[in-house]
């Protein structure tokens, strides 16, 4: 790895020498022309020299040591159209730049408050430094840095995001504008997305959910890539990371270009490779806990003033080992495993990258075409996407020569979305659209869910009104889904069921900016989710939990009323910030699994407890609070608290498997830029995760075999710096998770029955960007 970095250093430095002795300074300030917001993060390129800067928090930038002469300045910002400014300088010079707002409004960007206060009420975002710290981690691990988002895990390699206690099919994941259609229903089915694609990870609730579906009961996760290049030239970025605990290494690279002769055409190629060996807890190393990931994507775009189109293809392929000490044959095995404090020695102590049974192999392909047409002030979008997801699960088998998967699911999805954005009139703007989807699911090997074909169509309409301190948004959506299922029984009979569900959703959101400091936010959303095929028709043994799972064909859609209120404060010098989000999600006919202790299923492997999908009424309420203080410009203390109460209101009991309350305190110290070193900081985080005491009463049917694990406290460390070599800025980061090597178990990790969580994990990451602008 050292060698690669050295070569890259040499390559970049050689291309960057600027040898003239000149001493003029060019200072500048960038603002949004409409809102007068100072634009941080705008990219300023001096075309003649190729020098590149990014504006600071105040929207300021400075180029030093320029020679007199004529220059072309290229200014670009993510939410604005690019600007070219010609200047002639002979002495120190200052320029103010006003950036016009991009014509893309509702369709691409999520409406947020334009004031200087960060919008944290119903949209939470992970980008910049926080996203950098998660490079090399999974999508769910990265998202769990957002307050209110936690993880549902199977060991250290499979994790899926949980928003305010809900997960799987209650969360819509939008990968580069396309609704992800994989096998999300399973607790050990992680989202099939390469986080390196993302420039931003965003969690939204409220009106904007309606663009993606009526079933976002928990919210929507947006995985947003950077827009394609807007300045002729090329750029590359190389990321690498290494993790000591499981010797995991990650290499990711991206190359993009906009041609000089054909500036309408832009493209990007991106790829990631990741491989990890067996992970270690503080006391022992767990055999067969490695993983491997190979991802690739290519984007090509054509952009003209009245028309632009983009073609995107991505491929995600992963192979994930599952700790073989967790292989459970029946209930007695599970009870024995739970009774022992650590797994048997035959399952421990091996340091290898090799993956053996049981393991999962998942591939996901996505092809997307998106076109935008401007007709006057009207904007039309057409999005067509195809997805193919193939999941293979390899169990422990009797014969070692068997190479076949025991569970084999493939799902083909085709989706079409058309939307229309009307021009802004009398402070109103809005978007309407229709979406359609066709889906074909097949299985081979063991039965768990049937073959099915599903068709859905839906339509939505969203209007937004904003004036002075107010923003009002409202929307409505209707969806219809028809499902035709087929299951072949062992004696060649087929069992067919047809379903048809109509779901309606609507949402109303209001934002009131009381002043530059205060912002209030209120939302009420109605969502409804049709039952998933696994909830209707699953029928089989779930080996991870030693239960016999059974669906119910009479399930109805579940309907939620989600009320949230947010308050946001930031003082003028930006040294203190506070926000609070209160929510209450009342779900009628909430689908959950109820144990039936009186009806065990007798099999040749013994009696398995039966759990059946059922409906009840649920109420999930809680709050996310965060505050940050900057006693000096270098020191920042941030505190985040997340609390959830999840009730089964029909039987006045708690719901199972809900994240416990947690408090995180992080202190960051930023060092002054020194010579070649900039963006230097160190941070220490104390994470306190409470014990989950709110669990279902055993008198309503024993739902769990083991009491929730004890509370735990983790200490994490992060440090980063950017080193300039000519115009290339290489970022280096060091992270230590679980500094004190604490042994702990998490309630939302199925492996808590068997093993401790991963011990201390030190990571090092390096990012090398490179940019060239055509003269």
């Amino acid at each position: 790895m050292k060698l690669i970095i050295a070569i890259l250093f040499a390559l970049f430095i050689s291309g960057t020498a600027i040898s003239q002795k000149c001493s003029i300074s060019l200072t500048g300030h960038v603002e949004d022309a409409d809102t007068k917001d100072k634009l941080a993060g705008a990219v300023i390129i001096l075309k003649e020299t190729g020098m590149q800067l990014v504006t600071d928090e105040k929207g300021d930038f400075i180029f030093k040591n320029l020679c007199s002469g004529e220059y072309n300045l290229l200014i670009s910002h993510i939410s604005c159209d690019s600007v070219i400014q010609k200047i002639s300088i002979s002495k120190n010079y200052h320029i103010d730049i006003f950036m016009p707002h991009a014509r893309r409004t509702l369709g691409d960007v999520i409406v947020e408050a334009k004031a200087g206060i960060a919008n944290t009420g119903f949209k939470k975002e992970l980008s910049g430094k926080d996203l950098e710290e998660t490079k090399g981690l999974s999508l769910a691990e990265a998202l769990s840095k957002i307050n209110g988002v936690t993880m549902l895990q199977t060991g250290s390699t499979i994790s899926k995001p949980v928003i305010h206690g809900l997960h799987s099919s209650r969360i819509l994941t939008i990968n580069n504008g396309v609704r992800q259609e994989g096998q999300q229903w399973g607790n050990e089915h992680a989202p099939e997305i390469d986080p390196f694609i993302a420039d931003k990870l965003i969690v939204i609730k409220g009106v904007d959910e309606l663009k993606y579906g009526s079933d976002a009961i928990a919210g929507v996760i947006l995985v947003e890539p950077k827009p394609l290049r807007n300045i002729p030239g090329y750029s590359a970025e190389f990321n690498t990371a290494y993790f000591t605990n499981n010797r995991q290494y990650v290499v990711s690279a991206v190359w993009e270009q906009q041609l000089k002769k054909l500036p309408a055409f832009r493209y990007r190629i991106q790829g990631t490779f990741k491989k990890g060996a067996n992970a270690a807890t503080p006391g022992y190393r767990l055999n067969n806990t490695g993983s491997e990931e190979k991802n690739f994507s290519i984007t090509a775009g054509w952009k003209k003033e009245k028309f632009n189109t983009e073609l995107f293809y991505s491929q995600f392929a992963t192979k994930v080992a599952i700790f073989n000490g967790s292989h459970i044959g029946n209930l007695t095995d599970l009870q024995n495993a739970i009774a022992s404090s650590k797994p048997d020695d035959v399952f421990l102590g091996e340091m290898t990258y090799k993956i053996r049974r049981p393991f999962q192999e998942v591939t996901h392909h996505l092809v997307k075409s998106k076109s935008t047409l401007y007709k006057g002030e009207h904007k039309f979008n057409v999005l067509v996407a195809g997805q193919f997801n193939h999941r293979k699960e390899f169990d422990v088998v009797r014969s070692s020569s068997n190479t076949r998967p025991q569970l084999d699911l493939s799902i083909y999805t085709l989706s079409e979305d058309i939307s229309w954005e009307h021009p802004k009139r009398n402070n109103f703007n809005g978007v309407a659209g229709i979406s359609m989807m066709q889906q074909d699911n097949r299985y081979g090997g063991r039965y768990f869910i049937p073959n099915y074909f599903a068709w859905s169509f839906g339509g939505y309409f969203i209007e937004k009104w904003s004036k002075h301190k107010w923003e009002l948004q409202a929307g409505i959506r209707y969806d219809n889904k028809a499902i035709h299922t087929t299951r072949l029984k062992f004696n060649s009979d087929t069992i067919n069921y047809d379903f048809n569900f109509s779901t309606l959703a609507s949402s109303f959101n209001t934002i009131y900016k009381a002043s530059d400091k205060w912002r209030l936010n209120f939302n009420i959303s109605l969502a409804s989710r049709a039952p998933y095929v696994n909830e209707l028709l699953s029928d089989g043994i779930h080996h991870g939990t030693a239960t016999y799972e059974k669906g119910d064909i009479t399930l109805k859609p579940e309907k939620s009323v989600n009320i949230s209120a947010g308050i946001n404060f930031q003082n003028a010098p930006k040294t203190f910030h506070f926000d609070l989000l209160l929510y209450s999600n009342s779900i009628r006919d909430f689908i959950y699994q109820q144990p039936k202790p009186d009806n065990p299923v007798l099999t040749i492997a013994g009696a398995f407890p039966l759990i059946e999908f059922q409906q009840t009424d649920a109420l999930l309420s809680g709050f996310d609070a965060s505050a940050s203080v900057k006693p000096t410009s270098k020191l920042e203390w941030e505190s985040k608290l997340s609390v959830l109460y999840a009730r089964n209101t029909s039987i006045k009991d708690w719901l199972i498997l809900m994240p416990s309350n947690r408090l995180s305190n992080e202190i960051t110290y930023s060092f002054k830029d020194a010579r070649k070193f900039s963006d230097n900081y160190v941070s220490v985080e104390f994470l306190n995760v409470m014990r989950q005491n709110n669990i279902p009463d055993e008198r309503n049917g024993k739902q769990d075999y083991k009491a929730p694990p004890a509370a735990y406290h983790l200490l994490n460390f992060n440090a980063a710096s950017a080193i300039s070599f000519g115009k290339t800025k290489i970022s280096i980061g060091i992270g230590i998770r679980n500094v004190l090597n604490t042994a702990y178990r998490d309630y939302l990790n199925t492996m808590r029955y068997f093993t401790d969580e991963m011990g201390r994990n030190i990571s090092i990451r390096v990012k090398v960007p490179f940019n060239y602008v055509y003269h």
């Binding site: 044959g329 422990v396 068997n402 074909d440 029928d539 099999t603």
Partner: protein, 175 residues
């Protein structure tokens, strides 16, 4: 994309799912030492886990007799019926049967056959009966998922090295 379109739109009969690892039936064949009629008793769940409930015989043996017992595992969801015993035999070092009669059943099981490492396997065994009695016997097949399996003579039925493939309890009667 085109192929995606075609496969998505094609509506056809599902293929026969190739379900593996199913054991529907455990058959015990008793050959009395010194002559007599051969007896067979079984646990039978022809449609696999779920669906129709399994049927199970009571094991009825004569008093004060010795039987040579052979165990056979079948998968009746396949046509023709698959003999799973062959698979277990070929991976003998990663499998082990246990026979646990309850106290008072007046049955003792011994003479289990061994795997290649001289550790008991238990596809064949010898059952000796005492006086007239009723009781139960539990037959368990344990599978060692580790690499190497590290199967040892001293391993108990609930060893944390192995997991359960089969666990069937028969009622027994000596009359």
């Amino acid at each position: 994309m085109a192929c995606l379109l075609i496969t998505s739109c094609k509506k056809d009969k599902p293929e026969e799912p190739n379900e593996e690892e199913v054991i529907t039936t455990m058959k015990l064949t008793f050959v009395p030492v010194g002559g007599g009629a051969t007896l067979t008793y079984q646990f039978d769940d022809p449609d696999g886990p779920g669906g129709a409930a399994p049927t199970q015989n009571e094991i009825v043996l004569a008093p004060s007799k010795t039987y040579n017992v052979t165990l056979q595992l079948l998968d009746k969801t396949k046509t023709p019926v698959a003999d799973v015993t062959v698979e277990v035999q070929s991976e003998a070092t990663a499998h082990r049967f246990y026979y646990e009669p309850t106290a008072g059943s007046n049955i003792t099981v011994s003479g289990l056959d061994n795997d290649g490492n001289a550790v008991p396997l238990g596809i064949t065994s010898t059952w000796a009966t005492g006086a007239v009695a009723t009781g139960k016997i539990k037959v368990t097949l344990r599978h060692y998922p580790g690499t190497p399996p590290n199967k040892a003579i001293s391993d108990l039925v609930n060893s944390s090295k192995s997991s359960t493939d089969i666990e069937v309890e028969f009622n027994t009667k000596i009359q």
